[in-house]
């Protein structure tokens, strides 16, 4: 059976979640691998969530926020951007492919972009194969 990755995604309430909703109301089809968690702002997303998702078996993590300058809370998305880069560096050190984590800006009108992003991310993760964090952690000696 083909590997079907699981991607946990954190979507900000104002732009990205609405964008994802728009993909739905516009009946765009995309890969089923993305599971959405709603946060008020991408600025709420912290490393713990990302690590936890991998630890629980996610193969990829996607964070979406408003485009730079559009944040409903002014600058939350920039805070997320800063964290994102540090997390990526850390993931790399931990032997987790950086591409498993992705930050993207999705506005409320970008339903299509969200759908494309979901497909794209799924493809990327498929090519990376399953993330082993969970398995390894459970079999530590």
């Amino acid at each position: 059976m083909e590997f079907e990755p699981t991607i946990v995604s954190f979507l900000c309430n104002w732009c990205s979640y609405t964008g994802a909703d728009l993909a739905g109301t516009s009946r765009m089809k995309y890969a089923h691998n993305v599971r959405v968690i709603r946060v008020m702002c991408s600025g709420r997303v912290e490393p713990t969530f990302v690590f936890k998702a991998f630890r629980e078996g996610a193969d990829g993590v996607l964070i979406c926020g408003c485009h730079p300058g559009d944040c409903h809370y002014h600058e939350g998305n920039y805070k997320c951007l800063r964290r994102y880069h540090l997390i990526k560096k850390y993931l790399d050190q931990m032997g987790i492919e950086q591409d498993r984590l992705r930050l993207a800006w999705i506005s409320a009108s970008e339903g299509k972009q969200f759908a494309e992003l979901a497909d794209e991310m799924t493809e990327t993760i498929k090519s990376l194969g399953p993330c082993k964090v969970k398995n390894v952690m459970e079999t530590l000696t």
Binding site: T6, A20, D21, R35, R38, V39, G57, Y73
Partner: protein, 574 residues
């Protein structure tokens, strides 16, 4: 913690969900999850019978948490929250799983879609276990309003509010109100009288029973939060005032052109600013310093504006003022030669383009220059020149380097933020853009509010603008104030951040993070304190807190981490 008793409801949404998701299987499966007391599926959860189903179950099964798995929470979260309230349950004991917009409408494989739906519901179930009751909170609004600045904006706002019978305190730094508009002879584009326009308003404000005017006064610091501010008016006698809203209308300061070498302001006698010319018109005589009448008059636009060496922004009114002056000069000195040295004519207001057209018919010479890179140079004329000064410039419309004769040069100085802008910003707790104008809450949809609830900015302290635009803004702020006063209390966000003082170490990392300055540092306790009235609940501080002392209510670490666990556990079971 009380025993968790969750009811789960899976919606068919007609066939919208049911077509792509086996809703019955979903409800069957999730019923097995720990904490779930009952799981049901129903055609239209959002319909009245659907909501009734939830309400009945809450009562019957003593549920204390509810998960609805249906469409986007952006559509129906409020609906179901209300249903919970109706059943006597706190509305935050609810979570929604979006299996329509995020599942049935976007996927094509029914098995996979069903699987995904189950995981989403499991996530919601896991999350809702950690939900806590949150109570809507209100603050009362003091019906009085403080207005800082007695220019046209402050006056207009004051009248708008006071005319509705509400108390206004108007604090003005100068010894009279009226601001710059009171110093205008005529207004563009209709050449109405500035004085006739504002004088009745000034009189009204000064005699209004609902307006208390403080002249020669300042505000040091405003304490409190929306609805409940207080401050001391510093004048000869200090006075404590209490108010519910603040309107900041501190206005502008004209740009000082003496820093621009090319323009020789202050060095040659008949180089004046637009304000000095305005005064001449009010006094009925436009003359040179020596008392004679100027033959050649040049008006240079964009002085201090649209030039990154001074101010990058456009001052919005100078073009039209310059055109107005051209008209006034043409009337007062019919024989004079008038030169408008401009960059772009920005005649955008109602009736303004027409005014520009009419002005150009009055034998006014328009010369275009590059306001960023190539400023005209004013120099003293020679003996044979037949004029006092020569302006050397590269004219862009002809491409020629030309000389313009001038006996008087009027510099159309731009607007700057008021010199007290910074102090006032501190006093009332609002922020400024790079150029000391105040930042509005949203540049498009909320141009008069600030990120501080209850504090509004109107007129030229927000950015340069003309009289109608200032008046409009003033009235807009008045609307906001009147609305809150009318309601008398304000609902504040409950999903705010809260600091666990037992953990907070006082590192103050969070303070800069907050865009609403809702967090302050309590020196005595050495902890940060969230003002929950100012907090909008974005959660960014919670993520920035290195100790985990800040909890973002309704988006706590436990809730989100459990949701992740839920999402993934169901995933593995299947």
């Amino acid at each position: 913690m009380e025993e968790v008793r969750i009811g789960v409801y899976v919606c068919w949404c007609g066939s919208n969900i049911a077509k792509m998701v086996d809703v019955e299987e979903v409800s069957r499966e999730v019923e097995k999850l720990p904490g779930v007391v009952i799981a049901k599926d129903y055609k239209y959860m959002c319909s009245d019978p659907g909501q009734d189903l939830i309400i009945q179950d809450i009562k019957k099964h003593n549920l204390n948490r509810v998960v609805v798995s249906a469409c986007s929470p952006r559509i129906h979260e409020l609906t179901f929250r209300k249903a919970l309230e109706n059943a006597g349950l706190n509305q935050y004991m609810f979570e929604m799983a979006n299996i329509r917009e995020h599942v049935s409408w976007v996927h094509t494989d029914r098995a996979e879609a069903t699987k995904k739906a189950k995981t989403l519901v499991a996530g919601a179930i896991n999350r809702v276990k950690w939900h806590e009751s949150l109570d809507k909170r209100h603050v009362d609004i003091d019906p009085a309003t403080l207005i800082i600045g007695g220019g046209i904006s402050g006056i207009s706002a004051a009248l708008e509010i006071a005319n509705a019978g509400k108390q206004v305190y108007l604090v003005e730094k100068a010894d009279k109100i009226g601001g710059y508009v009171a110093k205008l002879d005529l207004t563009f584009p209709h050449m109405y009288s500035g004085k006739d326009m504002i004088q009745p308003k000034i009189d009204k404000v000064m005699n209004h029973e609902k307006i208390e005017v403080f002249l020669n006064s300042m505000i040091d610091e405003v304490f409190g939060y929306v609805g409940n501010f207080e401050a001391t008016v510093k004048a000869k006698d200090e006075k404590e005032i209490k108010f519910g809203n603040v309107i900041v209308a501190t206005g502008l300061k004209p740009f000082d052109p003496s820093g621009i070498d090319n323009y020789q302001y202050g060095k040659l006698p008949d180089i004046i600013t637009s304000l000095e010319l305005e005064e001449m018109f009010i006094n009925g005589q436009v003359t040179k310093k020596d008392g004679t009448i100027p033959k050649n008059i040049a008006l240079i636009h964009c002085v201090g504006s649209r030039n990154t060496n001074y101010h990058e922004y456009c001052s919005r009114t100078c073009c039209m003022s310059a055109l107005k002056y051209a008209n006034q000069l043409r009337s007062a000195l019919p024989e004079s030669n008038i030169f408008n040295i401009y960059a772009d004519i920005r005649a955008f207001g109602k009736g303004c383009e027409e005014f520009y057209t009419n002005t150009s018919k009055k034998n006014v010479m328009f010369l275009m220059y590059d306001q960023q890179n190539d400023l005209p140079k004013i120099k003293k004329a020679g003996t044979g020149d037949n004029c006092d000064m020569i302006i050397e410039m590269n004219e862009k419309l002809s491409g020629e380097a030309i000389e313009v004769p001038a006996d008087m040069v009027v510099l159309m100085v731009g607007m700057k933020a008021h010199e007290n802008a910074k102090e006032i910003a501190h006093a009332v707790g609002i922020s400024m853009c790079g150029n000391e104008f105040y930042i509005e809450r949203h540049p498009k949809l909320d141009p008069v509010a600030t990120t501080t609830d209850g504090v509004y900015i109107v007129g030229t302290c927000q950015s340069p603008k003309d009289i109608p635009d200032s008046v409009t803004q003033a009235n807009a702020a008045a609307a906001r104030v009147l609305a809150t006063i009318n309601v008398a209390h304000m609902e504040v966000e409950v999903t705010t951040a809260v600091v666990n003082e037992d953990v907070c170490c006082g590192c103050q990392t969070c303070i800069n993070v907050c865009p609403y300055t809702a967090i302050s540092y309590d020196e005595e306790k050495n902890v940060s304190v969230v003002n929950e009235i100012l907090c909008k609940g974005c959660g960014t501080c919670g993520s920035a807190c290195p100790t985990g002392a800040i909890r973002s209510r309704h988006f706590t670490d436990e809730q989100i981490l459990s949701q992740i666990e839920g999402l993934m556990s169901m995933q593995l079971q299947i």
